[in-house]
């Protein structure tokens, strides 16, 4: 390989590994103007391709790229400044900035946090947050994101443009929130990451490879955030995602059908990842009142560490669901608790709790309520009631693998 090939490969690697960090810093220097920062980023890499073969690779390539991007941005702002006084003003400001201060290494980590908090700002719709985060923080292409979310590329591109315009026009700042607002704002970031994870996780194998990659992307995001801001709920979310993901291979069988937890081949579970997740759960729950992600991760860890369904610590799981319910009252959590109580105290106890949900008119269209009830009737030996509940569940499913799973169960009862 000659020198030039070597350098262009190095630049390609740098683009993959560092371009998001360089962008994050350029965005700070350019007050959150995505259009200018992206242009400066492309110009900086183009300059590297042109200059490095002759001048050699700089000692600190990232700092070089930020610096080059900054100069390119100043040029661009001066050009635009002839028509636009705000651009001229920004050019002057950038020019007068102390370069060393602007390129301070310590600020780089904060810049990535700024980028995450800006992309996940609550003034943006959830779907815009997801698209913007995957595009700007993870560096996914618009085409890849559109494919993963099964929307046309122009729709997704438009969504990103609108979000960037709102950031600019409504002056959503490129900043990490102040301590007083941090907890609430962090929750918005975590919800965004978890949505990306679930979008990938709920996709069955073969449905869309790109979709499944969303889970891996969400875990990468979780790891990044955990490095930058190791708050207990960040740790909890990372643990939860790792623990769910570690069991991914056993969730569907060769035909693409769902396998319930109790029937999953636990030898397929990724042990090192479960151990990592479990250790993070301990950290997430250590010393303070646990948050919803920490509690959900604790439940996932109890499942992941149990040798089989019967030997699972259902009493502990039911108790954690009760805590979770206090923190986040929700009928879905109530249903999960009912299932855990049934495993601890027998089907009748679980059925009584599900009955309460039904009396209140909750989850009437949620297939899992009927599936859970069907399963409890089946275990209680009440075959006719079980069949009726399976049929009600089948009517309410939306995805083929779920329906096939329930139909198999129903067929087994009718033998």
């Amino acid at each position: 390989m000659n020198m030039n090939q070597h350098i262009s490969q190095l630049i390609e690697t740098l683009y993959r590994e560092e371009s998001r960090r360089v962008l994050a810093t350029l965005l700070r220097l350019l007050h959150g103007n995505f259009e200018l920062a992206e242009e400066a980023l492309q110009d900086a890499f183009a300059a590297a391709l042109k200059q490095w073969p002759a001048q050699g690779v700089p000692d600190n390539p990232r700092a070089w790229l930020v610096s080059a991007g900054r100069f390119k941005a100043i040029d661009q702002l001066r050009k635009r400044g002839r028509q636009d006084t705000a651009m001229a003003e920004l050019a002057r400001e950038l020019d007068e900035q102390d370069e060393e201060e602007a390129l301070d290494e310590d600020a780089f980590g904060d810049d990535r946090l700024r980028l995450i908090f800006t992309c996940c700002h609550p003034a943006l719709s959830m779907e815009a947050r997801v698209a913007l985060t995957l595009r700007e923080v993870c560096g996914l292409t618009t085409e890849a994101i559109a494919a993963a979310f099964l929307v046309p590329v122009p729709t997704l591109a438009q969504r990103i443009v609108r979000a960037k315009n709102k950031i600019l026009d409504a002056a959503i700042p490129y900043a990490v929130p102040e301590p007083g607002a941090l907890a609430a704002r962090l929750d918005g970031v975590l919800q965004t990451i978890y949505l990306v994870f679930n979008e990938g996780y709920s996709a069955s194998s073969g449905e869309s490879l790109l979709q499944a990659e969303l889970s891996a992307e969400a875990i990468r995001l979780g790891r990044l955030l955990h490095t930058l801001l190791p708050e207990p709920e960040v740790t909890g979310l990372l643990a939860l995602m790792l623990l769910h993901d570690a069991r991914g291979a056993s969730r569907v069988d060769a035909e693409g059908d769902l396998v319930p937890l109790e029937a999953q081949d636990r030898s397929l579970w990724q042990r090192p990842q479960i151990e990592e997740g479990a250790a993070l759960v301990v950290a997430a729950l250590h010393g303070q009142r646990p948050g919803p992600f920490g509690l959900q991760a604790a439940i996932a860890a109890l499942h992941a560490e149990a040798p089989d369904a019967d030997a699972t610590d259902w009493a502990e799981i039911a108790a954690i669901y009760a805590l979770l319910l206090q923190l986040q009252p929700s009928p879905v959590v109530e249903l999960n608790r009912a299932v855990a109580v049934a495993m601890r105290d027998g089907p009748a106890a679980g059925l009584a709790l599900i009955e309460q949900l039904e009396v209140r008119g909750e989850l009437q269209d949620y297939y899992l309520l009927y599936a859970a009830r069907a399963d409890l009737y089946r275990r209680a030996g009440q075959v006719a009631l079980a069949r009726e509940a399976y049929r009600a569940a089948i009517e309410r499913t939306r995805q083929a693998p779920e329906r096939r799973f329930l139909e198999k169960r129903l067929a087994a009862l009718e033998k």
């Binding site: 700002h121 003034a123 026009d169 409504a170 002056a171 959503i172 700042p173 900043a175 929130p177 102040e178 607002a181």
Partner: protein, 122 residues
């Protein structure tokens, strides 16, 4: 940056407050305005009489068309506005959080644009 905070609530719900509760809420609003004035964020603002008093005007073919009531029947009605000066959206949100009727209805926050001879934003 200037932000207009439009305050909405369900008038029917507010009618159910006793006179004493209503007066208490209004005193809170006066305090809120006082605080925003003291910190230099308050530019302008006013509470509105109920939509029973609203009249809607349209001009078509140079002729005024006048109708009774607000232009749209909505669950929550415009009840007042605050024009605030804030550094950015985060500050605007923090200030708007203190607007007392936000507890009953909602506050819509909109950045203000400048009128220009040409090149106006859409």
């Amino acid at each position: 940056m200037k932000y207009l905070c439009l305050v909405y609530y369900d008038e029917k719900k507010m009618q159910q407050l006793s006179q004493a509760e209503w007066d208490e809420l209004n005193r809170e609003c006066m305090d809120c305005v006082g605080g925003l004035q003291a910190s230099g964020h308050f530019l302008e603002g006013a509470p509105l009489l109920s939509t029973d008093t609203a009249t809607t005007l349209r001009v078509r073919d140079s002729k005024p068309l006048i109708t009774d009531g607000p232009f749209a029947e909505t669950k929550e009605q415009l009840a007042g506005f605050y024009m605030l000066e804030a550094r950015d959206m985060n500050e605007a949100l923090r200030l708007a959080e203190k607007i007392p009727p936000a507890r009953y209805g909602c506050v819509e926050i909109r950045p203000v644009r400048e009128l220009m001879d040409e090149g106006n934003q859409r």
